[in-house]
């Protein structure tokens, strides 16, 4: 891979800014911290890939953006999700409905079950259009036909009258994308859009997403655990582990120079063609062992709240910490117990417990406005 210019930032505002998001689920067995302090940024027209194993909080982060977490078991512990100058977590249901589908759309993993089996394709595509864009039915039909033909479906007018079970998996995923994009959202959350599809259809769908991204000037949050998909589609990669972002860099940097032990493990566990007959490497257990952290990146937590904590969490400086504020205590605790993203070299953030090599003020919120050259997107 070629050397990448990391100073391509134009100083533009990020489209989506997930700030210290924490989501918990109250289950019968206690509290699960599904997401625990996630920071993400997506710039306009950028593709951010969120990578990680199942249950690491990828989908929860994406669904929180649309407040789709079922809230009796789930609970938004803290954090903000900035989109368009508004905090998505503070919006009420009505305002949220205007955002859903209109500004931010989402496509799901399983095309077989993400279309309602009792309605025709047309009913489903047009319901969203009639809701957000126009009240006129003929106009809506026209938009729906256009949306279907945009995603490469032949005879779109005919397909509008068909039921989901009459379509193949790839077709259904195309319909899902058409539905999601019918209202021209500025951000598409793609939750493992190709996992359930076979490899040829996968390639078609990803190619389609890239094409539509350029046509619609849209940002994509691509959630996946397929590193091949990441390598071919992402501009910036966030590696997630146990509810946190552990590494954050542009796609070339991540693949060329992975730093976090978990990212290492992830790459090691990919089977290699013509490799040996040894067992595949597996990722280490839950808490990363200090001993495997890269040289110079270890930090022993102490009992009292160190001043570094305030650098890790700028929110601390805005809080009243004079009289044993519980929030301050909590955040200090978090800062000490959990590794925090540090910019260990320009454009490359790694979660670790040490401050060495971290550039002050740019630690917590990794911002990387990088887009791969369009040539490299071609397969």
């Amino acid at each position: 891979m070629s050397e990448v210019d990391n100073t391509s930032s134009t100083g533009a505002e990020p489209l989506l800014h997930v700030e210290d998001l924490a989501v918990r689920f109250h289950t019968g067995n206690g509290v699960t911290k599904a997401v625990n302090g996630v920071n993400l940024m997506i710039y306009p027209k950028q593709t951010l890939a969120v990578v990680g194993e199942s249950g690491c909080g990828k989908s929860v982060s994406a669904m929180s953006t649309l407040q789709l977490i079922p809230t009796p078991p789930g609970h938004y512990e803290r954090g903000r999700i900035w989109f368009n100058g508004r905090d998505m977590l503070q919006l009420d249901e009505k305002a949220m409905r205007d955002v859903r589908g209109n500004d931010i759309a989402m496509i799901f993993q399983e095309p077989m079950t993400s279309l309602n089996p009792v309605y025709t394709i047309g009913d489903q595509v047009m319901e969203a259009i009639l809701l957000h864009q126009t009240k006129d039915k003929e106009e809506a039909t026209r938009i729906a036909v256009k949306a279907l033909s945009d995603v490469g479906i032949a005879e779109p007018g005919q397909r509008l009258k068909e039921y989901p079970h009459q379509l193949s998996g790839g077709m259904r995923q195309r319909v899902m994308i058409a539905m999601a994009l019918a209202c021209r959202p500025r951000l598409l959350l793609a939750d493992e859009p190709t996992t359930a599809l076979d490899v040829t259809i996968q390639a078609q769908i990803l190619e389609l997403l890239r094409k539509l991204q350029m046509d619609h000037d849209m940002s994509i949050m691509l959630i996946t655990h397929d590193l091949g998909v990441v390598a071919e589609n992402a501009d910036v990669v966030a590696v997630m582990y146990a509810g946190q972002v552990v590494e954050y860099a542009n796609v070339h940097e991540i693949f060329a120079n992975p730093m976090h032990p978990y990212t290492h493990g992830l790459f090691e566990s990919i089977p290699k063609l013509g490799g040996t007959h040894e067992r595949l490497a597996t990722v280490l257990d839950q808490t990363p062992d200090e001993s495997v952290l890269p040289e110079g990146l270890t930090f022993k937590p102490t009992d009292d709240c160190p001043t570094e904590a305030f650098d890790h969490f700028p929110i601390l400086s805005t809080l009243d910490r004079s009289e044993g504020n519980e929030m301050v205590q909590f955040l200090c605790d978090t800062a000490m117990r959990h590794p925090v993203l540090h910019e260990v070299k320009p454009g490359h953030w790694v979660a670790c417990w040490h401050k060495d090599g971290f550039v002050k003020g740019e630690t917590v919120y990794p911002r990387l406005e990088y887009r791969r050259a369009t040539e490299s997107a071609a397969v």
Partner: protein, 471 residues
Amino acid sequence: MIDGASLDPGHKGVIDAETKRTRKRRTYIGEVVAETVARTGAKVGLAWIGVVAFCALFAPLLANSHPLLYKSGGEVSSPMLKYLTATDVILLIQGFGLVGSLMFWRASLWRRVLGVIWLGAATAPFVLWKTIVNLGESDYAGLYVTLLVLACLLSIGVAVWIATASRTKVNGYTILLAILALGLSVFFLARPIDPPLNVSGGLQVYRVMEQKGEIEWAVLAPVPFSSNDRQNELKDTANLPPGPRHPLGTDGHGADMLSGMIYSCRISLAVGFVATSIAMTIGLLIGGFMGYFVGKIDLLGMRIVEIVEAIPQLYLLLIGIAALGRNLYLMMALIGFFSWPSYARYIRAEFLKLRKQDFVQSAKACGLPLRSVLFRHMLPNGVAPVLVAASFGTASAILLEAFISFLGLGPVDTTSWGQLLNFAVSGSGGFHWWIAIYPGMAIFLTVFSYNLIGEALRDAIDPHLKKAAQL
């Protein structure tokens, strides 16, 4: 290479071939109905329910002491038409509407059924116009007339609206209007203000006229007795065994059994449908909210379900009738308002499963409002098991009504199968087998039919759910 790659003709061809072989259009509900009807049990059940419904709708044409048409004193007239009650008129209109819609209206089954119900609801205020206006001296006459005018305007308005909007989409307003019109019609139907059914001199007047030779010719109903024609001109007509004059014999009052059986179909059907509709509406709403919102609402809802389930329905009915009097509508309402918990449980379980489904999440992610997510996307996918429960529920509602009527606590002015059964053992101690067998068979067959339909529906749904939704 990036743009247009997925739109090239080669791709189109592949996609085309992919789906062409599975191109067959049928809705999920349509498929369930088709599969249900294909089963023998359901065919038998539907055939019997069809017979019962036919008798209920066309009863005045099938069994009537009033001749359908006759000539007397040089004048041709139709006493049958003249003495129709409001209920008769509405049911006949619905009956002809049903036949017409089956023969001439190409629409989905749902639209046909809804259309026929709507037809009855819409005609009710017009049919009852005269009786209401005659209530001049009543304290509430003004209120009645106002409501009647409202109901008439409403039904005209909706009819015009449906006629003008070419492809009317069923939305909240349509449903609200239909419910309003239906409610008003039921309100009017429930008032005991039908014109008196008996002609002066009693229903035997035509037979007396015929004996005197005053009738030149007459077209009689197939069964020339009304259910309340006690044949006062004759002696000893009570408890006659089946014979040429009365194919099923007569009951304890001397009324024809066959005629009574035909008119009883109405009560049976009405109790089943109305009670089940009430129960299902409440059950779907409460169960739906419980299953969708879970948490505290679910906890509270399930406690209410348990409380209502704990009330024994039979005693509740007996107490209700003792306190408020013998009334068919009270009976329907009581059965309906206290049998919803099972529907609520079913729909709750379905919604608990459905709320995590991708298509529900995707509907929410499209920004659809709650009512669309709940009732448009979740309900049709979860309603199938409830329909099975509903067919069993209808059967049990009919049984309950029959039991209450058998105890002599049924509706006052109308016959029902349970009431006829009551005559089987007369006060003088005799047992009359024909009075026990025929109504008993009718009750048995109806309950059995609903159970058969329910079972067929369950069989039709079971494999299908797995296949269609990949649940």
